[in-house]
Symmetry: C2
Amino acid sequence: MAGTTPQPPQSTSRTRSWWGWGWTDAHPDDAECTAIGALLPGTLSRPLPVPRVRDLAVAGPAVEPPPSLGHLVSADPGDRAAHAMGKAYRDVVRALRGRPGRIPDLVARPTDDQGVADLLDWAGERQVAVVPYGGGSSVSGGVEYRGDAHRAVLSLDLTAMGRVLEVDTAGRAARIQAGTLGPSLEDQLRPHGLTLRHFPQSFEFSTLGGWLATRAGGHYATGRTHIDDFVQSLRVVTPAGTSSSWRLPASGAGPSPDRLFLGSEGALGVITEAWVRLQERPRHKASAAVAFTDFQGALGAVRALAQSDLSPANCRLLDAGEAALSGAAHDGSSVLVLGFESADEPVAARLERAVALARSHGGRHEGTDGAGGREDGPDGDAAVRAWRSAFLRMPYLRDGLARMGAVAETFETAATWDRIPGLIDDVRREVGEAAVKATGFPATVNCRLTHVYPDGAAPYFTVLAAGRPGDEVAVWDDLKAVAGEVLHRHRATITHHHAVGRDHRPGYDRQRPEPFALALRAAKGALDPRGILNPGVLVD
Amino acid sequence: MAGTTPQPPQSTSRTRSWWGWGWTDAHPDDAECTAIGALLPGTLSRPLPVPRVRDLAVAGPAVEPPPSLGHLVSADPGDRAAHAMGKAYRDVVRALRGRPGRIPDLVARPTDDQGVADLLDWAGERQVAVVPYGGGSSVSGGVEYRGDAHRAVLSLDLTAMGRVLEVDTAGRAARIQAGTLGPSLEDQLRPHGLTLRHFPQSFEFSTLGGWLATRAGGHYATGRTHIDDFVQSLRVVTPAGTSSSWRLPASGAGPSPDRLFLGSEGALGVITEAWVRLQERPRHKASAAVAFTDFQGALGAVRALAQSDLSPANCRLLDAGEAALSGAAHDGSSVLVLGFESADEPVAARLERAVALARSHGGRHEGTDGAGGREDGPDGDAAVRAWRSAFLRMPYLRDGLARMGAVAETFETAATWDRIPGLIDDVRREVGEAAVKATGFPATVNCRLTHVYPDGAAPYFTVLAAGRPGDEVAVWDDLKAVAGEVLHRHRATITHHHAVGRDHRPGYDRQRPEPFALALRAAKGALDPRGILNPGVLVD
C-alpha cells in the first residue's frame, strides 16, 4: 500500500531576495516602482535603492559550532542576513533603511532528526537561542530574534529536509519532511495523482513545517482548509526528547498531542515531519464572479453560501476598493469570486446554484463562464483571472511601494457573523483616520473576506498610505496598534492565519485565557527547560 | 441576532437505574433475561437479582461540606451509590455482585460557575478528590475514584447546569451549559429550528460537558462528527482560575486553548459551558441497506464512499455476526447501512450514486426504499430500521446478559486503512480464542465500522461470551488486555470515542508520545496544583 519516493527536492537557478519577497527577478524595477508610487499621494519621487548585504556591518558570529556539527552550519554574512527577519512590510522597510533585525550568528541546515537534536543539545549547553526557519515568509516577526538574553542566535533552517518520504496511495496520505517547500511538495506528490491542496499565498516560499507551526489557513475558502485538519501525525524534536504521535484517522485518547504542537511556532519543539492527509487532484472546475452594488447584500450572500451544502472551494468577497485594486471591477462594485472543484463529480450545477443564491441577495452575474451549467475552460472567468494574477503579484508590489516610501501592508482576523459588519466598518474608519493623521495624506483601507465559515468569516485588510520618510516602521506600528484595538473591541482574533510571532504578542496575550497561558508556560518549561526555542514567541 | 431561551430543562417521571443502563422501566425482566441468556452457551440458568442500594454497606461521608455549600450537596446513600461508577459492563457486574467501586462521600450539584469554583476551593483545602460527572455513561472508568490518596471523594454532578443560555440564530450557534443532557439540549434548540445533531449511542444519558471532556464521536459516520469540530469556545473552571476562550469561527493564534481541554476528562478543569456550532434541522433524508457476501469487498466499498464527495450521514458496515445480531441480515451477509441527510437540498440522488458505488464493489441492494431516486418515507428502509432499533436497545440487553452471568461488552478503536483488515482479523481470532480458553465455551466477536474517514475507519467490536460465575470482571479484564495488545501491535488507537478513563490508561500511556506526557503533566501541575481533579485520569 505504501511506496517510497526517492527523488530529491527540485532545485532552481533563480535567486531568492535576501530582503524582499520571493525571487529577485520578479521584483518591480525602478520604473515600475516609480509608476505604482505615483498612484499613491505623498510617496517619494524615486525609489529607495535595493539594499545590499555588503552595506550592513555584519559582525562575526559570537559562537562557533563544534567540529562535529560544522558541516551543517554556515557563517556566511549573506546567508545570515537573509535569515535575520521574515517578510513583513516592517521587515522589508528595515532592510531598505539599513536597519535589519538582529542578524543570527549562524545558520544551520540539518538533514535529519539527529542533526536537529544535536543542534538543540549544543545550543542548550551554550545558551544559544534557536529560531526555527522554514521558507522565511513570516509576516509577524516569527523568525526574528529580539532581545539579548542569549549568548548567540542560531537560525535553524529546515529546507535541507525537503522530501516526501512515503506515500500511502490507497489511504491518501504521505509522510513528508517539514522543510519541504510548497512547489516541491506538490511536484513530489504529482506522480502519485495526489495533492495536499494547501495553497496559502506564500505557497512558493513556505514549508510544510511552517504551515504546521503557524496553523496556516490554506487557500480554499470553505470547508477543511486549515492545515490542522490534514494532520495524521507529527514528529517533533524537543530539547526534552522527540515526540512522535501515531498515524491515526481519528482518536479520542486525551487531548490531542498534535494540537499542542500545531500553532506552537517553534517555541515548544522543532516539527521535522508529518503524515498528512491528501486528496485526488481535482478534475472538475468551474468559477464565476458576481458583482454587488451593496456590500451588506454581498455579506448576506456569502453567509448563505457558507451555510449551504455547496462547499465552494473559492468564495472570496472583495470590497469595492479591493476589487478595483485587483482589476476585478472598476465601477465601485464589490465582487464575489466563486469557484468549485472536485475530483469526484462535475461541479457546474453547484456553481449554478451558488450564482442563483448570490443573485437572490442582489448579486449580478453578467458573464457566462461556468455559470450556464458548463465547466471552466483553461482560462476561467475573466474577473476571476484578474483577481488570481493580482493575488500572486501582490507581495512584490508591496515591496515596490515600500521602496517608494509608502506604507503598504495587510492584516487579517476572524470573527463570528454578528460582529463582521461593525468590525469591517470600524477598521476602515479608525485605521483610515489614523493613517491620515499620521501622514497628512489620504489612505486606502480595503477589505476582502478570504475564508468564510457557517458561523463567521475571516476579513483581510489592505492598508495603503504615504509613509513618513525614515519613519515608516513607526507609522505602520501605530496603525497596527489602532487595528489591534478595534479587533480586540470586537472580540475578533489577533490572527486567523498569519501567526502570532512577536508582532502580535500584545494582542495574543489579551486574547488567550489566563489559565491556558499557565498551562502553556508549564508545557514550555517541561519541553524547553533552558528556554532556547524561539524566545519571545507565545510565552516568556 | 442573539436571543435567550428561558425555559428550564425538561424533567421526567421515569427512574434512572443506579446500577445499570438507562431507565429502570426499560430493563429486560427476569423472563427476557433468561430467554436471551439461553442463546449463549455457558450462562446461568436464572438471572442474578437486581441489586439494591440497601444491601450495600454505605458508610457515612468522611467529610462534611461547610454550611455555605450545604445546599448544593447530597449525602444520600442512593445518590452516592449511583455516582460510584459509570456504565461499563465491568461496572454493571460489580454492582450485581455487590462490589461496586468506591462510593463517593458526597454528591454536589452546583448551579453556576461560582458554585463550581467554591467547591473546588473547598476540596483543594481539604485534599478531597473531585470527580466531574455529567450523565454518568462512562464506559471506561472515567467517573470512578480509585486509590486512597485523598481524604474523601466528591462527585461533582453538573446536571443542575442544564440550560441553553443564548442562541445566535443567524450565526447558527448557542451557548449551552455543560450539564445539559442530550434530549433536553435538542428540546431547547428545536424552537429555533436548529440542532447540534450530535447523537452518540449514549445521547439520552450523557451531557454536552461529557461529550466535550471525552471528545465524543457523535453518530454520523463521515464528515464532521466529533464534538471537537463544533466548539466555538469553552468555559472551564480550574483550581487556578476560570478559562474562557473567545467565541471565534477560526483562529491561528497559538495552539488552540480549547483543544487542550477537549479530551481532558475532568483532569485539568471542569467544563461549565460552551458556545457550539449548530445546523439547521435536516429536511431531506434517504437511506438504504446494501448486503455483501464478501467482507473485503464491503471494506473497499466503504473506503470508496469515504473518499468520494458524497458525505453520507450514515455509512456503517456490520459484519455478518453483527448484522445477524441486529436483525439486519440472517444469511451470513455483511450489511452496509447507508443514510443521507440535508437541510439544504434533496439527497435521493446522492443515495443512488452511493448504492451504485457499493454495487461496483460487489454489494447487493434488493429493496427499493430511497435508492430509486426517492426519499425515505417515515419508516425508511426495513434493514436500516431493524439496525436502528437494535442499536438503541443494545445497552439494556447487555445488562440483561450480565444478569445471566455472561460477558457482554464492546470496545472500539480507529486505524488507517492499511491496517484495518489485519486488525479486524486479529481481534476476532485472538480475543475469540482467549474467551474460549478463559470460559471453556465458544464466544462471539463481532465487528462493525461505526465511523469512516478518507484515511481510515473506526472498528467497533462486540464480545459475547460465557463468564466464570463470580469472576466475570477478571474474565473481561483479561479479554480486554488481549484486545489492547492487538490494537497496540496494529498502532490502532486505544479509544476512538469511549475516552481513556482509568480502564484505558495502560494503552493510553503507551500510545501517547513521552514529550507530550511531560507537557500534559506540567499543565496539570499548573492548573490543578493540589491534584484533586479526577485523580488517576490521563496523568498521575
